[in-house]
């Protein structure tokens, strides 16, 4: 198997896992300020869905204009840096919003979007970007679109379970987020350094 497929798998799994890890952790960020009700989960899931949608459309669009992994990797570096800032950012953001908006549904929805819109939209671009790049290859690629989604979902499965059932019991939330940010940053810098685009054999 060509190296590019291993790079695809690395990106899909690590960002699939990071996105769901962040989704699980966001309830810990929200509940001190907006309570622990089902409303919080409504805000979390709906804002993540919006961010995914934005990422899918943008990722698909950009992949056809700039069908190079390096472009995706640069965007992912930006997303990772944002993730690293979340532990410092969430307290003042949630404090500011919860003091001004009494309705916890609206408050948590706004807080979720301020904190997660940029990084999650960027991270959601991985799958459509990979599919878009492969769609432009003259020869049939080894992965189908469904396979790409499968690999990314396996990553999400691992990220969800590891975070909810293990990591929160061992580390502070802020350290798990920093850890996820470092993993994402390392992966995207590594992909950038590999210069995969020049190694693809049609």
């Amino acid at each position: 198997m060509q190296i590019v497929y291993w790079v695809f798998i690395l990106l899909l799994v690590s960002f699939g896992a990071a996105v769901m890890g962040l989704e699980i952790l966001s309830s810990n960020l929200m509940s001190p300020y907006f309570g622990g009700s089902i409303y919080i989960w409504g805000s979390i899931i709906s804002s993540f869905m919006v961010h995914f949608s934005i990422g899918y459309v943008l990722g698909g669009h950009l992949s056809l204009r700039h069908p190079r992994l390096s472009v995706l990797a640069v965007l992912l570096v930006a997303a990772s840096l944002w993730v690293l800032l979340i532990p410092a950012m969430y307290k003042p953001v949630c404090e500011f919003i919860s003091e001004r908006i009494a309705d916890v549904r609206l408050g948590s929805l706004i807080a979720m979007n301020v904190i997660f819109l940029v990084p999650i939209s960027l991270m959601a671009m991985v799958s459509p970007y990979v599919i878009g790049i492969m769609a432009l290859w003259p020869r049939r690629p080894a992965f189908t679109g469904g396979m790409v989604l499968f690999i990314s979902t396996v990553g999400s499965f691992v990220g969800t379970n590891a975070t909810a059932f293990y990591l929160v019991g061992v580390f502070p939330v802020s350290r798990v987020i920093i850890g996820l940010g470092i993993i994402c940053l390392t992966v995207s810098l590594f992909v950038l350094a590999l210069r995969v685009d020049n190694r693809i054999k049609w």
Partner: protein, 347 residues
């Protein structure tokens, strides 16, 4: 009275499921038998089909029994007055003899709040008796904030036996209030107030100071994690008047208990516990300047005549001691908060 309105719909869904299952089975095996030409094979396939049809029907019947039998059996012993879902819980109100209980969650044996209508101030559960004994750590309290209404047993005791205490109750779930009013004769008397709000949000917005803050917003299988942390207890402490105390209902049998004690100790100078003898309940009392120490509690109880309605204060005072220090238990914070994981880990 609303009694299990979902039975009919469950039945029809179960029947629908069985129909679909057997339809799928028949479709699958009639197709395979069509391709066989040999008569013996057709016969074999048909008998095989019969076996599968029977298995499908048996499976369906078992499913049907599973769906229907459980609620029916529960209803045979006692009466379910309400069963439904709020935005927070699955709530059941059940009448068993003269006892009426509000039950949270699917595990019907746990985390009930009950009132015995024959003896309305009788503590059906040990933890409520221990909480009222904890009152004696600040016996001259004139204002108390209670987080977690349940069936309204605690406000009822305050109303009947401590009428001079201004009680502020906070309940997050509007349905709990509705059910308490409808099925537990709960009402808000003059001198008491009720707010429908998240406990932490309420205290954050409040400008009041309370002599005692009671935390009773906990399930046995789920705990609102944002009300277990050092930051939360610090907020509670800020809302306490000079000499005020926190009284917290918890469960002793899991690792969360040790973490709760460690967290209370991180915020308050003195931490005492009542450990239940008839149940796994425990009550944590935390304060900077309590009126008495656990050794003085019996004397305090006797000074009150030893009883508060149906509660034997002297017997409850016996259960109190200084909380043991467990070195390895973590302090929970907003950042490090494994409360619900610890809750599941038995000691």
């Amino acid at each position: 009275m609303i009694s299990k309105p979902h039975n009919d719909s469950v039945l029809s869904i179960a029947i629908l499921l069985i129909e679909q299952l057997s339809f799928l089975f028949s479709l699958k095996y009639s197709r395979t038998s069509l391709t066989k030409t040999d008569a013996a094979r057709v016969w074999a396939a048909n008998s095989l089909k019969g076996v599968f049809m029977k298995a499908g029907a048996a499976l369906g019947t078992a499913l049907l029994a599973f769906f229907l039998f459980l609620p029916v059996r529960a209803a045979a012993d006692d009466r379910i007055l309400y069963e439904g879902d709020s935005i927070y819980h699955h709530i059941t109100v059940r009448q068993d003899g003269t006892e009426r209980c509000m039950i949270f969650g699917r595990r019907q044996d746990l985390r009930q709040t009950c009132i015995d209508f024959a003896r309305p101030d009788h503590p059906v559960f040990e933890y409520t008796a221990m909480m009222f004994a904890a009152f004696l750590f600040r016996p001259d309290a004139s204002s108390v904030c209670l987080i977690g209404l349940g069936g309204g047993y605690v406000p009822a005791v305050f109303r009947r036996h401590l009428p001079s205490v201004r009680l502020q109750t906070v309940e997050v779930d509007p349905l709990v209030e509705k059910l308490a009013r409808r099925h537990f004769a709960f009402s808000v008397p003059p001198g008491q107030t009720l707010a429908i709000d998240d406990g932490r949000q309420f205290l954050k917005k409040s400008r009041e100071r309370y002599d005692q803050i009671w935390l009773d917003a906990f399930n046995s299988d789920y705990i609102p994690a944002h009300m277990t942390t050092r930051e939360f207890l610090t907020l509670v402490k800020e809302r306490l008047a000079e000499g005020g105390i926190v009284v917290q209902n918890v469960f002793a049998g899991n690792r969360l208990y040790d973490a709760q004690l460690a967290t209370a100790r991180a915020v308050f100078k003195k931490v005492f516990v009542f450990e239940g003898r008839q149940s796994g309940s425990a009550v944590i009392v935390a304060a900077d300047n309590p009126a008495v120490e656990p050794e003085g509690l019996r004397k305090q109880a006797l000074a009150w005549g030893g009883r508060l309605g149906g509660i034997d204060l002297v017997a409850e005072a016996e259960k109190c001691r200084v909380a043991p220090v467990k070195g390895e238990a973590p302090v929970m914070t907003d950042d490090f908060n494994p409360a619900n994981l610890l809750l599941m880990q038995k000691k």
